[in-house]
Each structure stands twice: as structure tokens, then as C-alpha cells.
Amino acid sequence: MHLLSLLIWLPILGAIVVLAFGRNAATARWLTLGFTVATFLLSLPLWTGYDVTAANSMQFVESLPWIRMIQSNYALGADGISVALIVLTSFTTVLVIIGAWRPIEKRVSQYMAAMLALEGMLIGVFAATDALLFYVFFEAMLIPMFILIGVWGGPRRVYATLKFFIYTFLGSIFMLIGLIYLHLKTGEFSLAAFSQAQLGASEQTWLFFAFLAGFAIKVPMFPVHTWLPDAHVEAPTGGSVILAAIMLKVGGYGFIRFSLPITPDASQEFAWVVIAASLIAIIYIGYVALVQEDMKKLIAYSSVAHMGFVTLGIFIALALVRVNGNADAARLGIQGAMVQMISHGFVSGALFSCIGVMYDRLHTRLIRDYGGLAHVMPWFGTFMVLFAMANCGLPGTSGFVGEFMVIMASFQTSPEVALLAAFTLIISAAYTLWLVKRIVFGPVASEKVAKMQDLNMQEVIVLGAFAIAVLALGIYPKPLTDLMEPAVLQLVQQLGLAKV
């Protein structure tokens, strides 16, 4: 079974089919839905078929020689971390397509094709075990996103999409230099060979910062997050959802796949840089979110703050293993970061969908234009409040689990870090609940708001699916943590071994 290949190429094939036969908008929509649902269904066997007891955490392995001269292979494989992210991708894409059913009216086939191509490339990123293949998918996904924001985006879309493309390209091209260096060192491109390469301290430092440039911009970490609010504000709803729910995760995934195993010693040495940037993101960016007038910008900054937990969890694990020798707490930190990534995927995707629902009706994203939606759109209000609670990490929602695990892990090496990180519970509650208060509650703001229709069927499906995911992960996260346990365990063991 070439399950991973199928998952990568089916959506890309779908993109070609939709472009070729999707002249009629309805045909394009149904074809795309068919391809995304098929991809989602095919991704489920990854989860059910993943053997957590097997000795090798990398499963569903495929390998074909690609470029013999530089020993690069078309090599795919998935461990629990990849499986979780692949399923998140295929799940979110289905909802994005349903969500775009009515709002996207211009050049429907191109929109749908771009989404499908993006899905295939994202799955490729999470499945590649060859560094060159990873890089190809990592960069290639910029092309459909560039088109998505630029064609279907808001008024300042050109500025936002160029900024997005050049900013992210800038970071990853430094990573490319690092990959070429590693290739010259090992003679291969496989990630396994890279992580076994013996590297000196200064080599590791350079490589660490090369990777940091690529992944920090993608996450995005403070202070290189400035492309994100622009891209989010101008992107169409579907673009924002994919961006927040999946694309940002590529950065966190990159840290786990590249930075930690390849440059463990430099990662430990410079962990304070990342941890400091994460704490600034959690606190300072939280305050920045508080003063936003544009809903999308607010959620974008909230994303930066929440992704701070991901980087914090990943890098606090190094201190836990190396300094405290506490492997259990380190596992907790990395698990927490992963759960936070998945949870943030659901929550931010849902919140951007909510904003999309409002924007489609009133064509404004300013908070002051809304008010009293609970009176005119009760169903919408219910969902919005639920996702807001998840965003501030209320126990019982998925937002709580990851943050709690990361704070727990941090506490065992540095109570100060844990204390600062825990501030998020107050700040995120402040900006999220204040947002909800101004939008959902209070008197009906205007005549236009009074005329707003409650959710239609597609919107109920989208928000309902996100709601189920948020609650399920919040109440019973064990299946997810079990799935990722072997991979996390292996990573933590690897972190314990110094290369220098």
C-alpha cells in the first residue's frame, strides 16, 4: 500500500481534474468536495493502522530513488506526529471547501484547485523523510497560497501576499544552505542520516540558526511574526483557516524534525533565545491582540501567542532532558506542544470560519460594526462562545490540554517560566472574552446587524465539525497522545545523547 503517496498525489491530481473539468462552478465544487472527502477517508487508515507497539516509530515507509547523483530519494514515512498533522490537514481541508461553497463566486475552479494542490503539498511536508523532498513541498506550497491571497483576498491583498511570499521564502532559503551543507557532510539527503551526522559545536550553531530562520518565520515567532497579521487580514476565509490551522504547524513540525535531532547541542545552548521569544509572544503579543479593532487581526495575534506555547514546549524539553535529566517532563513538554498544535488547528480554524460567516453577511471585519449577534444569530452565538472558551483554554476544551501540559513541564525546570507562561490564561481570556462580549452580546448594533441571517447548512456543518473536534480533544485527548507517544519517546531519547 502506498498510502502516503496516494494522500499526496490524490489532491494534486484532483487540482488538475478540477481545472480541466470545472468550468461550471457547481461541478468544480462537487468535484473538489469528492476529492477532499476521499483524501480525508484515506487518511483515517493512517491513524487506525498506526502500530504504537512497533519498534520503529516511522511507518508506512516508501522509498524510491529520485536523483541518484546526490543520493536524494522520494522517501516518505509517518510517525505519530506526522499522522496527527496529516489527519488534521485532510480534516480541515474538507471543512474549508464546504465553507467556501457560497462565499467564493469568482473563478471557482481555480480557487478549488489551489486548495487541493495546497492540501497535497502540506501532506507531502508532513510525510517526507528526505530533506530535499521536504524542502520542495515546504516551498512549493507558497505558490498556491500566494495565488489564494492575491486573487480572492481583501483590498490590500497584493501587499499582503507579496510580503507573505518573500518573508517566508527569505527564511527557508537560509535553511536550504544548511541542508546543502549537511548533504555535503553526509553525502545523503535522508533525515535519518542528517540526525546521525556528527557535528561540531560551531557547525551546529550555524545550522541551528539556519533552521531557526526557516521555521521561526513559518511558526511565526516574535519578532518575525509581522507577515502573519497582514496575510490573515487580507486572505479569504479559507486561506486564513489553512494558514492558521495547518501552515503555521509546519514551523513547529520543522523544529521537531530538524532542529532538535540534527543540532541538539546548539538547540540546548540557544534554547533560551527561543524560550524568551516564546514568552514575549505569549505575553506581549497577547497585549497587542487586546487593542485590535479588526477581528481577523485579533485572532492572528492570538495565533502568534498560542504558537508561542508550541515553541516553548519544544525547547523547554531540551532543558528538562539535558539539565534536569527529567525525561518524563520532557515528554510532557513535547506532547503538550503537539497537542497545542492540533488544538490550535481546530480552534483558530473555527474562529476564522466564524469571522468568515460574519464577513459574508456584513462585509466588514471591524469589531465596532457588530454587537448583539446573540439576538439575531443564536446558533452562531453559541458556536462563537464555545470557540472563544477554547481559545482562552477553558478546561473541557482542547485549548486547555496543551497549555496545561506545557506549563506543567515548564514548572519542573523553571517555575519563573511557568509563571510567565501561565499569564496567557489571563491575557487570552481578556482579549477573547472582550471580543465575544462586544460582538455577540449587548444590544443589536445597527439595522444591518438586525437583518443578519443565522447559519446556513454549510456553515453549521463546518462549525459543528470543529466544535465536535474541540470538545472531543478537550475531554479525552488520550487517543492523540497515545498515537504520538512512540515518536515523542524516541525524540526524547535522542535528545539525551550529546553530539559534541
Binding site: 520542495v136 497584493v158 536550504l176
Partner: protein, 492 residues
């Protein structure tokens, strides 16, 4: 004492060139008797001549490099690869340019003959075994090119471009010739391989100064022909002023030939002095990357923008030379071939959209192309992303191999310079995509495309090749690599 005995086997070695010469003369005569309405006969015959020549190059390719005429001419693997791509891109010039030239009343026999002679010159140039052959091939190429640029003699722009090209080109040829004379003086031979053996640059070498001067003049001549900064002044004007089909020719086929010349002169003849010329090329490359990419941003004319982009790509090609090993040259050759294929797409789309009385050469002319013709907008977007070096397109992998060669040579700073300016370059390529996809078109109706199905198919395939080669670039890389390994070995 030079042995001038005639060996009949030499004629077999140069069979492709002989055939092309014969065919060109035949077409010259046939064309005299054709009326303007029958000019398509010349078109078909010229394509046929190129195809047969390509077949002869391919089928007769010797396993071992074969010298002919006492080493004046060498038929080796590097020559074979370059000749095939030169013939291919020249054929593309005919296919893409036919309707364009007809609309502009430039559909004349001279177009075909001059291009054929230029092709012959390029084939000689890339197979040259001695300084004389290099110069002979180069002059046949450039003299034909000057006339081609001036083909539209009623256009002030064309004439100006041609004169500029001629004056500066003649100067460059003079410098090159001067350098060659110094090498001859220092080594007493014109044969490239013998120059390599005789060039003694060690501390007690007798002609160190002469060699160094000769080398500098050679590098200047090569930089001139490639269009590297600071010898690039002719390039933007010629690109913009020449009829677009001729720009396509100068931007693709003749750049491949210039690569061949650079390799023959620098590696085959002056390989022993590589420590001296790599540093010169590194600086030329860095400056070309900087100037080409930065100045391209300010251009509003697409042909001129592509000219500056060419300068930056030349910088990348020179980076491959910095490694001074067969693998490094292979990456440079791979890059040049990739560049020629990408540029052919970009100019092909410009030619496709141009009509009688309308040149689609301003970037603004591409506004909203996606709404008027999504297919060719897509082809152009592929070309732009490929030129910018975004994976999974072919252009990225060419950059990857060159960067690998540079880092392998221990020149990390050059790799950093290259990527920094690649990011600067990203902006103007993305700008073209932005204009095609994000801007609203001036008029809504579909673009009236020329009725030439052959051209449309060729252009579409050419565009898709950038995607296909992005996935299957391994064989082409292997081919370049083996060619350079074998040819370098033979030259020693």
C-alpha cells in the same frame, strides 16, 4: 613544424557541421527562387536542416572524444550536449517567431539564413580545439547576430541596438583576440590542450606576466559575451531593441554557446591557472547577481526586465565555475540549459501575445491575462516561478546544484550573496504573476491568439517541461555530469 596532412576521417567527425553548412547553402539558393508567399518552404527546410543536424550530432556522437584537423576541432560529449540544446532552441526561435516576424514584414530569407549561419558558428565554437577555431566560431555567430538585431531596419530602436551591439561586440572580440595573442606569445601554441600543458604560472615560470595579462583579457572577453557585470551595458538595449524572436535567440542559443566558449577557454586552456581566474569570476558573479536583480526591479518593459534577469542568471552560471571541478562545470552547464529552456517560455509567451502593430512587451500588457487566457497565463506563471527558483519547478534545482558546487568549493560567502539576491529577484518575477493574476484586465474579451497550432503546442510543452524537469531532472544532470567528466579527462 605543423603537420598539415589531410585525414579523410576528419570529415566524418565534422559531419554535422558540414551538413549544416551544405544545407544552409542549399536553402540560400532555394530561397532566391521563392516568392514571399512561399516563404514557409524556407521555414520548413530550415527546421528540417536543424533536425537532421541534431540527428547527426546525436547518432554520430563518439564514445571517446575525437579531435579532427590536428586538434583544431574536438568532437566531445560537452560539445554534443550543448549542440543539441543549441539546435533545439534555434528551432524554437523559428517556431515561436514565424508569425511574429510575418506580421512585422520581417519574414524574409535572411532571417533563416543568418540564424543558420549563427548556429553553424555556435557549433564550431562549442567544439573548438584551438584559439583560432574559437575566434572563427565566435565571429560567425556574432556577425550574424548583429545583422539579425538590425533586421527591422526601419526601426530606430533596432538600429540603435544593433550599432551598440556591434561596436561593443567588436571591442570585446578585440580584447579577446588580444588576450589570445598574449597566450600564444607565452606558450607558443594555439591548441587549447597544449596551452594548458605549456602554461607555467609557477613562481619560476618564464612568462608569468604575459599569462596573467592574457588571462585577464580572456575573462573580459568571456564576461562580455555572457553579459556579466560590468561588461553588460549592451545587453538590455539589445534585448529591448531587437525583434522579440531575435531576443529569444540571443537569450537562449547564444548563451549556451557562450558557456561552451567559457568552458573551453577557462578550463581546457587555462585550467592550470584556475586559482587565478576563480576569484575574478567570483567577483564578476557577485556583482552580476547584485546589479542584475536590483536593476530589474525598476523595469516596466518585460524584455528589458528579462535582460537584467539574464545578467543575474549569468552570475549564477559563473558561480558554478568557481568550483573549477567537472562537477562544478556540470552544475553551470545544467544551469545554462535550464535557463535557456525557461527563457524560451517567457519570450514565447511574449511572441504569442504580440500581434500586428502591438508588442506585448510592457509588463502592463499582461494585466489580467489569467481572466483572458488562463492557460497561457499559467504557462507564463510557471516560467516566472521557475526563473525565480521556487520549487518544484526546474529553475530551483539548477540553483540548488550551483549552490552545492559553491559551498563545496568552500565559498560560503558567495552562496549567501547568491541567495540574498535570489530573494531580491523574487520580487520582480512575482510582480509579473501579480499583474497577470491579481490585476483587472484593460479589456475583458479573450486574447486573440495566432492560428499557429504548432507554436501553441510547442509553447505549452515547453512550459510543462519546466514542471516535468522539476520532477525528473536527474537524467539531465547525470548527462551534464558525465559529459564534463569525459571531456575534462580527454582534454588532459
Amino acid at each position: 613544424m605543423i603537420n598539415i596532412a589531410f585525414n579523410p576521417n576528419d570529415l566524418v567527425t565534422v559531419l554535422p557541421e558540414l551538413f549544416l553548412l551544405g544545407a544552409t547553402c542549399a536553402i540560400l539558393l532555394i530561397d532566391l527562387f521563392l516568392k514571399q508567399a512561399q516563404r514557409n518552404v524556407t521555414h520548413v527546410l530550415s527546421l528540417l536542416a536543424l533536425a537532421v543536424t541534431a540527428w547527426l550530432v546525436w547518432s554520430g556522437a563518439p564514445v571517446q572524444a575525437t579531435p579532427a584537423f590536428n586538434g583544431m576541432f574536438v568532437r566531445d560529449a560537452v560539445g554534443t550536449v550543448l549542440k543539441l540544446f543549441i539546435l533545439l532552441t534555434t528551432a524554437l526561435v523559428y517556431v515561436y517567431g514565424r508569425l511574429y516576424m510575418r506580421d512585422r514584414k520581417l519574414f524574409v530569407g535572411e532571417l533563416y539564413l543568418l540564424l543558420l549561419f549563427a548556429t553553424l558558428g555556435m557549433m564550431l565554437l562549442v567544439s573548438a580545439g584551438s584559439l583560432v577555431t574559437v575566434y572563427l566560431g565566435l565571429e560567425l555567430l556574432t556577425l550574424s547576430s548583429y545583422a539579425l538585431v538590425a533586421l527591422n531596419r526601419d526601426s530606430v530602436m533596432s538600429s540603435e541596438a544593433a550599432i551598440k551591439y556591434f561596436v561593443l561586440g567588436a571591442l570585446a572580440s578585440g580584447l579577446l583576440l588580444y588576450g589570445m595573442s598574449m597566450l600564444y606569445g607565452a606558450t607558443g601554441t594555439l591548441d587549447l590542450a597544449k596551452i594548458h600543458a605549456a602554461a607555467d604560472f609557477s613562481a619560476n615560470g618564464a612568462h608569468r606576466g604575459l599569462l596573467a595579462f592574457g588571462l585577464v583579457f580572456l575573462v573580459v572577453g568571456i564576461a562580455f559575451k555572457l553579459g556579466a557585470v560590468p561588461f553588460h551595458m549592451w545587453l538590455p538595449d539589445v534585448y529591448q531593441g531587437a525583434p522579440t524572436a531575435i531576443t529569444l535567440f540571443i537569450g537562449t542559443a547564444s548563451k549556451l554557446a557562450a558557456f561552451g566558449m567559457a568552458w573551453r577557454l577557462l578550463e581546457v586552456a587555462m585550467g592550470g591557472l584556475h586559482a587565478q581566474w576563480t576569484m575574478m569570476l567570483a567577483i564578476l558573479a557577485a556583482v552580476s547577481l547584485a546589479v542584475g536583480n536590483v536593476v530589474a526591479i525598476a523595469q516596466t518593459n518585460l524584455k528589458r526586465m528579462l535582460a537584467y534577469s539574464t545578467i543575474s542568471h549569468v552570475g549564477f552560471v559563473l558561480l558554478g565555475f568557481v568550483n573549477a571541478t567537472p562537477a562544478g562545470y556540470a552544475s553551470a552547464m545544467f544551469y545554462m540549459i535550464c535557463y535557456a529552456i525557461m527563457t524560451a517560455v517567457a519570450f514565447g509567451v511574449i511572441l504569442l501575445l504580440a500581434r500586428a502593430g502591438f508588442e506585448a512587451e510592457e509588463i502592463a500588457d499582461f494585466k489580467g491575462l489569467n481572466q483572458r487566457n488562463p492557460w497561457y497565463a499559467g504557462v507564463m506563471a510557471i516560467a516566472m516561478f521557475s526563473l525565480a527558483g521556487v520549487p518544484p519547478l526546474f529553475g530551483f534545482f539548477a540553483k540548488l546544484m550551483v549552490l552545492k558546487a559553491v559551498i563545496d568549493a568552500g565559498q560560503m560567502w558567495l552562496a549567501i550573496v547568491a541567495i540574498v539576491f535570489a530573494i531580491v529577484g523574487l520580487f520582480y518575477y512575482l510582480n509579473v504573476v501579480k499583474v497577470m493574476y491579481f490585476d483587472e484586465p484593460a479589456q475583458k474579451e479573450a486574447v486573440a491568439l495566432p492560428a499557429d497550432l504548432g507554436m501553441r503546442w510547442a509553447l505549452s510543452l515547453n512550459g510543462l517541461a519546466l514542471l516535468a524537469l522539476g520532477i525528473g531532472w536527474g537524467p539531465l544532470l547525470d548527462w551534464c555530469n558525465q559529459a564534463l567528466l569525459a571531456s575534462t579527462q580527454f582534454a588532459r
